[in-house]
Symmetry: D2
Subunit: 161 residues, 4 copies
């Protein structure tokens, strides 16, 4: 973290639906906040047992004025099954309260657009974006609560510009 100016800017999310938010969230409009983006699929066991509960806990711990938790449903397989309608039921049954976007499907490949833009390897993945809109962490697989917390704490401590 010695040369923060070298961190890449987080590309805007490409989405086709949102849940738990009155309007779509634009990263550009969230500058000044830390964004914790949790990429998941509703039929990914590791997401269900570890990643989504972590996202929920994080959302409860911190006000959205400082930290914005966003779930991103990045369907890269079984598209006919993990539909927007199925996701809606999933969100209700699992009582997820944080903002959740559906990654825009590609017309030419199985990976959706945001997943490709961010070069995510699979689910669960977590992306942390700093106050200036730069990608500071991209992690595939689960990450320990303590470790994630320490990284977020560091980012929260940074100046706004």
């Amino acid at each position: 973290m010695t040369q923060p100016n070298n961190y890449p800017l987080a590309p805007e999310l490409e989405t086709c639906a949102w849940f738990n938010t009155e309007q779509p969230l634009l990263l550009g409009a969230l500058q000044g906040k830390i964004i914790a983006l949790f990429a998941f699929q509703m039929l990914c066991p590791g997401c269900v047992s570890h990643s989504l509960p972590q996202a929920s806990a994080l959302q409860k711990l911190y006000p959205t004025t400082q930290l914005q938790v966003i779930g991103l449903h990045t369907v890269f397989e079984h598209h006919q099954i993990m539909t927007i309608e199925a996701l809606q039921v999933f969100i209700a049954e699992y009582a997820l309260r944080f903002a959740i976007a559906v990654d825009q499907p590609s017309t030419i490949e199985s990976q959706p657009l945001t997943m490709t833009k961010y070069q995510l390897q699979g689910t669960p993945s977590i992306v942390l974006i700093d106050k200036q809109g730069r990608v500071r962490l991209k992690h595939f697989g689960h990450i320990h609560d303590l470790q994630l917390g320490i990284i977020i704490g560091r980012l929260l401590a940074e100046p706004n510009n």
Copy 2:
């Protein structure tokens, strides 16, 4: 358990698909074995976190010569989403190995046929059937592993006829 002759005979399952078995299982052909029937829905959080792992553990502990574990996908809501195709992916992703049947949908009501026949209240539910094909336990919600084990152990100890 003092008047076992009073226990109702378990009605045959009404099913429209099976997984993890070469052919559909008929209760009538399983006499002499204990049957542990786990009714679930793939979008039921309590089923995913407690009941299905319990069914898997039970299947691993006991050979099917004595105890037959059967999962029953009793879809009573969100039928358009919890389809047979979705269940197939779910079974693969969660690596479930025990025999799983799909409860036959009703043409007139949301509850499927077996669920109605057995008067199940919801998911998860567990039904234990003894060696003579009688319903000995019908439980809605999770049941402690020790408690379930003790009941199964008692049934295993009964004579075959």
Copy 3:
């Protein structure tokens, strides 16, 4: 379990103190009940995290008219530390409610007398004694709740004599 007459009779416990019981429990006086004997040491992490919670759960599930849970503090190391006074505090802090005996120390070796009589390998160990006072299970290490339950259920189903 085909030749139950071959199972060895459980030798009487050799104890020097009891907790959570008005008077010492004699195996001979418990005939007709299943006895679940949990050998432990208060400074054994596996006992604290798995075995003692299992004993507590078992005690809560079944009335002592049918099943008697007994903890046995089998100190075979660090005798100066795992004293009766320390055990008393441990039982209070961990809110253990089942009957607990202290295995009688040997005057000539580190293993206490009951541990030697039962040829226990270490802690945690569980011993199941049937209604006729015979040892039916002796297991070193943790045992899955379902598996333990099934064995106990089988023993509960046996006739009293």
Copy 4:
């Protein structure tokens, strides 16, 4: 955290023994590092099941050049049982690897000296000390890993002076 100059300086620990360190740790010599001080008693169930595993996880995640984890055995009850000898066995059995100090007993009251100096209410308690040796968090009871991580991350991000 707007007026950091108002945070009280962490008083030096009063100790009578140390484990897992070649020499006693002086807070004064740790300036520039974050110190996570976990006050515990070996017969405190909440410490054993939550707080000490958290301390171990924290120690593994961060090098001691930036973050120093210290366990503090603050015996305020049952002094005859939770002796230094008993603690030594406890540390070995639970495989604790981080530095652990024994809080110096008082000659006049049950609370040991450091516990009194820091006005700790009981165990488990956690105290976080910043790079300049000031107390920034004092928490009685367990604290969520994410929450603890975020606070530590903020402290790690502060300048050394």
